[in-house]
């Protein structure tokens, strides 16, 4: 279970961390992209096989994220302060949550009718969907690491994350880079939502729950974008470990106490050693 929780938090943490570190604001619309991915996959799966529903769901979530980024968030992010962007993206999240509730109802949507077929890995059992989720998280982390290190967009994104004003002076295309960053984050969150609905029940309120976990993973991970992957691992281990020593309903309270302690004592996160790399 730790591995699947890590995969979910890793995907969303990376999406959140991308916007936060590059664009410099808390992008809550990551939760909206997660919902879009989940609901569009569920909707597509009503008429096409599941294998075809995944790409449809992910494509829809990515397309909407790109459009919202193109016409809304990216132009605003280049002229508004971070707090405004926090509120704008909160509005986007609430908007998509309401639309989802109006269109699909507030009850949870489950894609599978019974337990997913599982197979044994050492002493644990894992379903194919969970395996896809873990594979997607590993693949996205590796692709993102490579792209950030080697591509033009990656260099621009790191330059903006480091010093936005200097990057602007040196001719880095800020708006274009922000748009690509936003679209990438949306697509990653869409993948997470799409695989989530195949494994667990999805309802509109779920977006905030997973988003909070993603924020914790990103903050624990420190100032490097890929630190979110390590932050997600810490969070998944913590949640799992806490399950042995206290009732499950205390988990989120304890996790947020730890987040508060990290913020108060170590503002740069737990993994500052990878700060300069990615």
């Amino acid at each position: 279970m730790i591995v699947t929780q890590w995969a979910l938090y890793c995907l969303l943490g990376l999406a959140f961390s991308l916007s936060f570190r590059v664009a410099g604001f808390f992008d809550l619309s990551i939760g909206a992209a997660f919902l879009l991915g989940g609901y569009s996959t569920w909707w597509a799966a009503q008429s096409v096989p599941l294998a075809a529903a995944f790409p449809i769901g992910i494509a829809l979530a990515s397309t909407v994220s790109i459009l919202v980024g193109l016409w809304g968030v990216a132009p605003l992010a280049s002229r508004l302060p971070p707090l405004n962007m926090f509120v704008v993206t909160l509005g986007v999240l609430y908007f998509v949550q309401s639309l989802a509730a109006l269109a699909f109802g507030e009850s949870a949507k489950v894609l599978r009718s019974g337990p997913n077929p599982t197979f044994a890995v050492f002493s644990a059992r894992i379903s194919f969907v969970q395996l896809f989720l873990v594979a997607a998280a590993v693949l996205v982390t590796l692709c993102l690491a490579y792209t950030l290190a080697r591509s033009g967009w990656g260099r621009f994104a790191r330059a903006i994350a480091d010093d936005r004003h200097l990057a602007d002076l040196l001719g880095v295309p800020i708006q274009n880079t922000l748009l690509k960053t936003y679209a990438t984050g949306g697509a990653i969150a869409g993948i997470a939502g799409s695989l989530f609905v195949a494994d667990r029940a999805l309802d509109p309120a779920q977006a905030m729950t997973v988003l909070l976990a993603a924020m914790v993973a990103a903050i624990l991970g420190g100032e490097a974008i890929l630190g979110a992957a390590l932050g997600a691992l810490v969070l998944a281990c913590l949640e799992s470990g806490l399950g042995f020593v206290m009732p499950g309903f205390w988990k989120s309270t304890v996790v947020f106490c730890i987040l508060l302690a990290v913020l108060a004592l170590r503002g740069g996160g737990m993994f500052r050693f990878i700060r300069r790399k990615l």
Partner: protein, 289 residues
């Protein structure tokens, strides 16, 4: 009908007071508070539990919310003293989740999701609870406006605009910030205490992160003078769902339409505003706050 109207007025006063406090913190001190409803919840539970479990008189229970709020404010200050802007918002968000978790899970004390019921009636001072709460709203708004013009208010703005300079001038920025958190938490806990006596039943769902975000939105929604900012924002958010109800919209759909309108309002307000929280502005050589 009159009872319904008076209850709405009481709710408006409660949330208007909370939003005024949050608006002051955002505008004058650049402190983004995303835990207002959670602190109200702490005050609400303090008063309700003292009144129902220990049999304290309602007014005595209400007064106990002030030291409880001050203590909570001090803890929040100590936990967030090194943080500002987005990180402070995130820390207060974490505090909101933690306080909600305590209300929800400390079942032996708070009754958990079942909440606290049979909260006794509070004897009104001005003839009706709504009138008392409107008076509290007015007092808070005037107090905030008065503080803004005092030496302390100027120290708050100086600390907001340049903390280093404020430290060099020995304005004791840390103490100013501590006073802001302690004072604001005391008012929020007090108004939360009143909320319990108005509703006569409280449960954790009234003090979620979502409620805290709504109070923050109330505080930021209108760029009107600070004196009426919280009241105007609260009026907008309290009146909107009631208007939808008058138009015969089904409550479940009405709640979603309300959230849709709320979302659009948030986007439009944030996209149009140049700066949502206070900033030092120089106009023709004069400093304005």
């Amino acid at each position: 009908m009159l009872d319904y109207f008076l209850k709405l007025m009481a709710l408006w006063a409660v949330f208007g007071t909370a939003a005024s406090v949050v608006a002051y913190l955002a505008d004058q001190a650049r402190l983004i508070h995303v835990a207002a409803a959670a602190i109200m919840g702490a005050g609400s539970y303090t008063a309700a539990l003292l009144a129902t479990k220990l049999g304290w008189s309602p007014w005595l229970a209400i007064s106990a919310t002030i030291p409880a709020g001050m203590l909570l404010g001090l803890v929040i200050h100590l936990a967030t003293s090194r943080l500002s802007d987005d990180y402070l918002a995130l820390a207060t968000l974490a505090i909101a989740v933690i306080l909600y978790g305590l209300m929800q899970n400390l079942e032996a004390i708070t009754n958990g999701p079942m909440g606290v019921s049979n909260i006794p009636q509070l004897a009104p001072v001005l003839g009706h609870q709504a009138a008392d709460l409107l008076a509290l709203l007015a007092i808070t708004a005037v107090l905030i406006n008065t503080i803004r013009k005092t030496g302390f208010g100027r120290r708050v703005r100086a600390t907001r605009d340049d903390q280093e300079l404020a430290d060099n001038l020995e304005l004791r920025a840390a103490r100013v910030r501590a006073a802001l958190f302690v004072g604001s938490s005391a008012i929020l806990a007090l108004v939360g205490g009143f909320y319990g006596f108005v509703m006569r039943f409280i449960d954790p769902s009234s003090f979620t992160l979502r409620e805290s975000i709504t109070i923050l939105a109330m505080a930021l929604v209108f760029k009107v003078p600070l004196l009426i900012r919280g009241a105007a924002g609260a009026l907008f958010f309290i009146a909107l769902p009631e208007l939808l109800r008058f138009f015969g919209v089904e409550p479940t759909i009405g709640a979603q339409l309300r959230q849709l309108a709320f979302a659009i309002a948030l986007i439009v307000i944030a996209a149009r505003a140049r700066e949502m929280v206070g900033q030092h502005v120089i106009v023709r050589g004069k400093a304005h706050a």
